[in-house]
Amino acid sequence: MAETLFFNALREAIDEEMAKDPTVLVMGEDVGHYGGSYKVTKDLHKKYGDLRLLDTPIAENSFTGMAVGAAMTGLRPIIEGMNMGFLLLAFNQIANNAGMLRYTSGGNFKIPMVIRGPGGVGSRLGAEHSQRLEAYFQAVPGLKIVACSTPRNAKGLLKSAIRDNNPVLFFEHVLLYNLKETLPEGEYYLPLDKAEIVRKGKDVTILTYSRMRYHVLQALKTLEKDEVDPEVIDLISLKPLDFETIGESIRKTHRVIVVEECMRTGGIGAELTASINDRFFDELDAPVLRMSSQDIPTPYNGTLESLTIVQPQQIAEAVRHMVAAKV
């Protein structure tokens, strides 16, 4: 079977759901005629028309609010952040209205919407285009936050996100759009709240998500000869966190390394660490180790940029160190 590119896997998810349900539509900047900044919606406007692939003016807060209003009144909008960072301008609509309105309304309204697009640190894009909003948004009640990482999970997760009756913040990664993979035949859905065990192991639990999954896997290659046996878990769901899978792993390994691309302060790892201490403290043989991006605006210069995010070599050292310290 032919391999499918990451962005096409996302496109298939949208196409399949739009074909099935006329209430599903896409809104955002350049999602229609231009096909999306990473071609996720390429040519869909030809099939579904301009209203279902709604090219909006550059007005993030307002088109996000429009999606909330459309969702409250029965449609299932998918909005694309041309770059997820731009949705800082939509923070109000995402937090107050997508996230909280259902509760505040005492259950009067549902908000079935997906907010998706490219996030993460790219390649020398500068600070503003290299944001990791998952960390900023994780405190908003009522949101689900998902980070996909492979063509296969991207498709199955996006389809589930579109079908979900809640607002889902769906992070893709700028550097992963050209990955290729053979997808399962036919339609499939993946659960939004389940972590993915990437590699089974027993020595240490590595919790990661999005592109850092690949940095972790690269690190493990250099570790093969050292006979360490880590378990690698791709969180997938950043909110809520899948403590069932995480807990099962910790009960086996008793050690945790978090590898994340967001910054250390107030990051996903900070929340994970605190929650792991709350829930599994007795299982731990060592403090949770957090490996995060530096607390700085992502610099443009390539060397400085690579110093900002966690590199495979650092991960390999950390794993070696943690396993060696095992008593």
């Binding site: 307002s62 429009m66 209003g69 309304s105 908000i111």
Partner: protein, 343 residues
């Protein structure tokens, strides 16, 4: 000080009403007024909490617009000054009062409070406490009507949405962004500005380079009207026209209603900045008194009839208070209910 905007002579034709319509409008305005007076009383008695923004003086706008729409079908989007919009939409006074008391029987189940009234059955989209954030939501509801009609082929999808907001809010980007999109896509929406001259303590003229808000419609290629917001028939006349245009697929209208709030910004506001002369001038234009005089002059009703309506409404409001008092508090075991769609 800035020059005060002269009150214009309006060009718009007021609505003609039958006796039944006249009484319906009167009743709705009186309900708004009595309900708010009761809120002030209950707030000072410690029965309701937080920020409570009353609507006294502006009744002709809520009644004039919402009662020109189809109840339970058309959508209404409000602000934090939302009690009376909710009542005009048909949300029972009991449910609104119970919400203000924080009770489980409130229209938002005690989760929302004064600034977050919602009712799906009455098509009330909120209740938004942040300035301007309801405007995009309303625009989305209007987009939805167009989408259903044009994409899904639903010929009954001719619902119109009205978004209400204040003068101060028209300096927020969401206002301009949504005027653009609504005009661009010819959405069935009314942007109703309740220009009560003040945004808390900020006089409109001190905040706004072009204080005549209705004129801003023209740059978006949208009709804009200014209307006497103290005259329910004037508001109704414009609203009917705008609703008909919206329903016919001819797009949005910006309506600037010149009005005034008879009380402070909220019940926590000492209201020290507005001059006595200004307040008195506007009190003299009380929309309820004005309409009462009209109804009797036109022989559509007589004073005893209007008094009887007031008496009925007084009992509706008393009943709402009793209902709120008797209603249960939300169940603490349901603290997490309504976070997600499945809850």
């Amino acid at each position: 000080m800035v020059q005060e905007r002269a009150f214009p002579t309006f060009q718009t034709a007021p609505a003609q009403v039958t006796r039944a319509e006249g009484l319906m409008l009167y009743q709705d305005m009186v309900l708004g007024r009595f309900f708010e007076d009761k809120c002030a009383e209950m707030y000072y008695r410690g029965k309701m909490f937080g920020f409570v923004h009353l609507y006294n003086g502006q009744e002709a706008v809520s009644t004039g617009v919402i009662r020109a729409m189809r109840p339970g079908e058309d959508y209404v989007c409000s602000t934090y000054r939302d009690h009376v919009h909710a009542l005009s939409c048909g949300v029972p006074a009991r449910e609104v009062m119970a919400e203000l008391f924080g009770k489980a029987t409130g229209c938002s189940k005690g989760r929302g409070g004064s600034m977050h009234l919602f009712s799906e059955p009455h098509r009330l989209l909120g209740g938004f406490a942040f300035i301007g954030e309801g405007i995009p939501v309303a625009t989305g509801a209007a987009f939805q009507s167009k989408y259903r009609r044009e994409v899904m082929g639903d010929e009954n999808a001719d619902q119109v949405t009205a978004a209400f907001f204040g003068d101060g809010t028209t300096n927020n980007g969401q206002f301009f962004e949504c005027l653009n999109m609504a005009a661009l896509w010819k959405l069935p929406i009314l942007f109703v500005v309740e220009n009560n001259k003040w945004a808390i303590g900020m006089a409109h003229d001190r905040a706004t380079s072009q204080p005549e808000i209705y004129k801003k419609a023209s740059v978006f290629g949208m009709p804009g009207y200014e209307v006497d917001g103290m005259d329910v028939l004037a508001v109704r006349g414009i609203a009917q026209e705008a609703v008909a245009r919206a329903r016919a697929g001819e797009g949005p209208t910006l309506i600037e209603c010149l009005t005034y709030r008879f009380r402070g910004h909220s019940l926590a506001d000492p209201d020290e900045l507005r001059s006595k002369a200004e307040k008195e001038a506007w009190l003299a234009r009380d929309p309820i008194k004005k309409f009462s005089a009209y109804l009797t002059e036109q022989n559509l009703a007589d004073q005893p009839e209007l008094k009887a309506i007031e008496k009925t409404i007084q009992s509706v409001v008393e009943d709402a208070v009793q209902f709120a008092i008797d209603s249960p508090e939300p169940d603490p075991s349901e603290l997490y209910k309504y976070i997600f769609a499945e809850d």
